[in-house]
């Protein structure tokens, strides 16, 4: 069984690093990006199973990234977890419209993030089997 691929997007290098270590230690393949624009290119080229993104980033914000991902046929179904210090700035309607699977607040627990990733991927796998 191939490893699940996770795209981590954050302009804070330490956050990217710690999440990457946690996921790699738990048998995930990790690719990283520092902003939305870079992440969108990787999403198109690397086809990740899930994306974990920050909200406030230079060049392209997390919300702009998700909008772009949802508009693109190739990437529109990729589940997204928002990891942000500004979770209060994201409205429920926005979460629903952009199909954001989960919104985690910073400071966060890497363990909790991992559990969320596992849950989402598991449910997707169940649904795809049913289909």
């Amino acid at each position: 069984m191939s490893k699940k691929r996770v795209l981590i997007v954050d302009d804070e290098i330490h956050i990217v690093h710690v999440v990457a270590i946690k996921l790699r230690n738990n048998d995930y393949e990790v690719i990283t990006a520092e902003n939305g624009a870079e992440a969108f290119k990787l999403a198109c080229s690397e086809n990740p199973d899930i994306i974990v993104t920050d909200f406030q980033m230079p060049v392209m914000t997390g919300l702009q990234l998700i909008e772009k991902i949802r508009q693109c046929d190739q990437t529109k179904d990729i589940p997204v977890i928002m990891l942000t210090a500004r979770s209060f700035a994201i409205e429920d309607q926005q979460k629903e419209d952009l199909q954001i699977s989960q919104c985690l607040s910073k400071p966060f627990s890497p363990k909790e993030l991992l559990e969320n990733i596992e849950d989402i991927l598991y449910h997707r796998a169940v649904i795809s089997r049913q289909v």
């Binding site: 330490h14 710690v18 946690k22 500004r86 910073k106 966060f108 363990k111």
Partner: protein, 505 residues
């Protein structure tokens, strides 16, 4: 009583007159009979004539008496009525009224009339007093009205008073300016016709508040004024008449544009602060959890995790210090100890602090020849903070092999000293230059170059401009470099301390 007296008088007078007439007629007849005697027919004729005359006389007297009685009755009745009326005014009865002698009717009539006249005089006096009081009250009311109008006209907020049909009763100058109408020409016109369509929301609220009879309605509304969007806190209060019916409304519009901006700035600040604080905190908690969970597999990873925790804790502390310093300066709570200090010494001290960092990055620090008179009246620690922030920023954003140059210049005309720090760094995009001194502003394109809180330059601005009445400046060209600097007033030469003698070697 009076009538009875008059009747008795009449009977007596009539009886006396009738008896005297009859006695007179009889006496005349007896006299004539005694003088001429025996001529019967002549006697009879004279008796008839005399008796007829006396009867006519008696009837006349009776008629006159009767007429007199009726007249007296009428006068008595009037007198009684007057007397009854005067009971009301008995307190006005004059003690020194003239007394008529003899005739009780005349006396009583006179008394009654006197009392009536006295009563009317008093009433007239009272009325005159009331008129005078009313005139004073009118003058007082006009004075108070003028005073209230002056107060309302003097209010900077727009004040509008309307009647129960939303027609304009009163408005001050501020209202005229806001809604663009002249009050003297607009009185009694519907407010809806006076304010523009763009302000129809106000008319709707005014009308709705009046109709709902709510004591007070408050709403924030926005208008375009002088091509600028302004926010007004609109308070509408209903005006009630004596029957507690709404007879109008008063609207007060207070410009809260600035307050709203400040509110927004505060919200943005809190939002920024929370984000900036949470970011290093997120790293600290995540790395700590990883360490605790044994996710660091080797010694080197453990060391790396600990190092990240340390650096992020320092970052957090720096942030808190900067936020507190800015907050203290802004609120005027910072303790400032200004004295004459040598800028040359301060620059040298801060250069020493930054030199090792510059050498690490292979950056040359150049300082032009120091100036002769370098004394500024300043808080030493704060100006040192300004210099170190500018120097460290310059080194931070300058690639290896570049240079940072410090220049000091005295402007005697302006009586100030100018310090500039020029680097050969990445530069700042033209449209972002004006924002570099804003709180938490960081240039996206330069974030990769170095870490920062986005508060260092704002702190420089606060210290220079708020504490030292100076000025900060910046110029930049992307890819070429930037010049940041500040100007502060020179210390007066009289109070300036002499430069310390620098020891050689």
């Amino acid at each position: 009583m009076f009538l009875r007296s008059v009747r008795n008088l009449y009977l007596i007078v009539t009886a006396v007159v009738a008896v005297s007439l009859l006695a007179g007629g009889l006496a005349q007849w007896l006299d004539s009979g005694a003088e001429e005697g025996g001529r019967f027919a002549g006697y009879m004729q004279r008796v008839h004539v005399a008796s007829a005359c006396h009867i006519v006389g008696a009837v006349g007297v009776i008629w006159l008496g009767w007429y007199w009685i009726r007249l007296a009755g009428a006068i008595t009745s009037i007198a009684k009525r007057l007397k009854a009326d005067n009971i009301m005014n008995s307190r006005f009865r004059a003690n020194d009224k003239p007394k008529a002698n003899g005739n009780a009717l005349i006396d009583e009539l006179s008394d009654a009339l006197t009392e009536q006249i006295d009563g009317y005089s008093n009433v007239i006096g009272e009325l005159e007093k009331q008129v005078s009081d009313l005139q004073i009250q009118i003058q007082l009311t006009q004075h108070q009205k003028g005073h209230i109008e002056a107060i309302i006209y003097g209010i900077r907020d727009a004040v509008i008073v309307v009647d129960e049909y939303d027609k304009l009763l009163m408005a001050n100058e501020a209202a005229g300016r806001l809604f663009n109408f002249d009050f003297t020409r607009s009185q009694h016109k519907p407010v809806g016709d006076l304010v523009g369509r763009d302000k129809s929301e106000f008319v709707d609220i005014l009308s709705h508040s009046r109709q709902s009879k709510a004591q007070a309605t408050r709403k924030e509304i926005e208008f375009l004024k002088d091509a600028e969007l302004k926010t007004y806190d609109c308070i509408i209060s209903c005006v009630y008449d004596q029957k507690q019916q709404v007879c109008g409304a008063v609207a007060v519009l207070h410009d809260v544009t600035r307050e709203k901006q400040i509110r927004q700035m505060k919200n943005d600040f809190v939002s920024h602060v929370s984000h900036e604080l949470k970011t290093p905190l997120a790293s600290i908690t995540a790395y700590s959890e990883m360490l605790a969970d044994g996710e660091a597999n080797d010694e080197q990873t453990i060391k790396e995790f600990c190092s990240v925790i340390q650096s992020q804790a320092k970052r957090l502390n720096r942030l808190i210090e900067d936020i507190l310093n800015i907050s203290r300066i802004e609120s005027g709570l910072v303790k400032v100890e200004k004295k004459s200090v040598s800028l040359t010494i301060l620059i040298e001290e801060q250069m020493q602090m930054i030199r090792s960092y510059a050498e690490e990055k292979n950056i040359e620090i150049i300082w032009q020849k120091p100036i002769v008179f370098d004394q500024v009246h300043a808080d030493k620690d704060m100006i040192s903070q300004v210099i170190v922030n500018l120097l460290s920023n310059a080194v931070k954003y300058t690639p290896s092999g570049g240079s940072v140059e410090i220049e000091t210049e005295v402007d005697e005309t302006e009586n100030l000293i100018r310090v500039s720090v020029t680097d050969t760094g990445v530069g700042i995009p033209e449209d972002e230059v004006e924002h570099v001194f804003d709180k938490f502003y960081r240039i996206d394109a330069n974030k990769k170059q170095a870490k920062g809180t986005g508060l260092g330059l704002n702190l420089v601005k606060q210290i220079v401009e708020k504490v030292h009445e100076g000025r900060v400046f910046v110029s930049s060209k992307p890819g070429v470099g930037s010049t940041f600097g500040f100007e502060v007033p020179l210390a007066t030469r009289e109070v300036a301390e002499p430069l310390p003698v620098m020891s050689k070697g």
